[in-house]
Amino acid sequence: MSTTVSPSSLGRLGPMIGKGGQAQVYLAPAVGFPDVPSVVYKKYRPGHSPPGGLDQLVARRLRLDPATRARLDSLTAWPLRVVADDAGVHGVLVRLIPDSFFQDRVLPGGDAVRSLRELQFLLIDPARASRLGMPAPTTAQRALVCRDFAAAVHLLHKLDIVIGDINPTNAVFRLDQRPTAMLVDCDAVRVRGSAAVVAQLDMPDWEAPERLPSQATDLYKLGLVVLRCLAPGAGGSVSRDLSRAADVLDREGRGLLAAALGRDAAARPSAQTWGRYFDRVLAGVSAPVPGSTTSAWRRGPGGTWIEVAR
């Protein structure tokens, strides 16, 4: 299957739905795939198209068995196709991030906006998040988000991917339906053993002790995500102070976090270890969902979430 499509094959583009430092994002209503019906075109700004390697990311996805591919598509906005012609790479097609990851809110100045619920909103003081029109989740809901974030990292690591730039604007969360996280900026990832597709500019507050990105630095940053999501508040997006999470993690969790944020790269818990840990914790914790304060969630055998009456 071809990893590349030409710009002319995209048909009429829909409205621009977002723009960042590197790309403009358009709806692409004429494009769709049987397994991913709603697609956006992320068009790189001139001079910002990646040096190469996107093909490899697309090919990696296309080679997966359908179940794994569906899982990849539910946990990430993975590049579906490269958009290129003789002049070079213009952009990528990725899935449209589902509505459930967006929040309608009113900004302090009075404008009504629809915002991606980026992980950064989990890091700030919850009272402030509510004031800004964003949810202020409970600790259990945060743990669920961390759990699925760990699941995404685990899946990518199993697929031999280095994520590299894990930071709180590259992932989004939702709390309704089933609380979960999704990694949305995947064109900066790379297949282990090859160069990064997009030059990686780490946010300094998310740097690992080792400079070169690897799965071990991903695991360090996963530790930072856990710490900062579970211990929100002033300074929460820059802190590496383990004691901030002392009240919300049990002994085992504190041990995992200390190892994750340690200098010994080999001793950092894998994403799977984190995932299993949160599964165990959550099986015993109540996670209030809207309209209910009496249910808990746990993972069933197939990886599905089961609501547990308490």
Binding site: P108, G109, R128, P168, M203, P204, G235, V238, S239, R240
Partner: protein, 244 residues
């Protein structure tokens, strides 16, 4: 890491409220801070990185918003009114005392602090020639070897609209040379001044976002947007550029 509470970059917005600013220009200035608040509401972790203050000036200068976290619940945004001449010296002197006491306070609160950034917006020629220059030197001069001058001197980025005299504002670019020279922004001649002020607010916000996302522990500090990203109607100049 130098400080567990992180390292903050203080921004000082200095705005001219002399009589010539009356009307749409002043309204546009009044919208700058609310626009910054909305930008922060979309990137709230920047509150772990930046602080804001606003000073207005005419014949005198006043702190209208003391250095603060703009997302703090209890902030009251100032309302502005015009009042008098354009004495550049007044805000420059006030900046020196504000910066000195603000940085002391932040350090006492456990933060490390980046070199502050001053955005200085005016639409006119200073009415205190001969006086403002020495106030500017007091604010910006520092000799590291001799330990003379003001060690907390800020980076200064002048913004000029309508009526501003480019060659005067250009002298306020600081540092003018060296490894990280600052720049000045001027509205195009035919540009509506209120629109130009709004554009300058965009430049300020893009500088806040860029600086906040790349501030490494220890180095860096303020970043200005690259010229190719500048919105229309405004151009940037270095300290040595000529005006045609």
């Amino acid at each position: 890491m130098e400080s567990e509470r992180g390292k903050l970059l203080p921004f000082y917005l200095v705005v001219d409220v002399s009589y010539s600013m009356q009307g749409k220009k002043l309204d546009a200035v009044g919208r700058i801070i609310p626009t910054i608040v909305d930008a922060l509401a979309k990137a709230p972790i920047l509150s772990d990185k930046v602080r804001f203050a606003m000073i207005d000036f005419a014949d005198d200068a006043q702190v209208r918003l003391p250095l603060c976290d703009l997302l703090d619940e209890h902030i009251v945004l100032p309302s502005l009114a015009t009042r008098g001449g354009t004495a550049f010296g007044a805000p420059l002197r006030l900046l020196r005392t504000e910066i000195e006491s603000n940085i002391k306070q932040l350090k006492a609160d456990g933060f490390a602090v980046h070199r502050p950034a001053v955005f200085f917006l005016s639409d006119g020629e200073p009415t205190d020639p001969g006086a403002w220059e020495s106030a500017f030197t007091d604010l910006t001069y520092y000799d590291k070897e001799k330990r003379q001058g003001f060690p907390m001197y800020p980076n200064v980025i002048p913004f000029g609209v309508e009526g501003a005299v480019p060659t005067t504002l250009q002298r306020m670019i600081h540092p003018a040379t060296g490894s990280k020279p600052m720049r000045m922004y001027l509205a195009d001649h035919n540009q509506d001044p209120a629109a130009a002020i709004t554009t300058m607010a965009e430049i300020l916000i893009s500088s806040i976002l860029k600086s906040g996302q790349s501030m490494a522990m220890g180095n860096s500090g303020i970043l200005l947007p690259p010229d190719e990203d500048l919105p229309g109607g405004v151009k940037s100049f270095g300290a040595d550029d000529d005006f045609v």
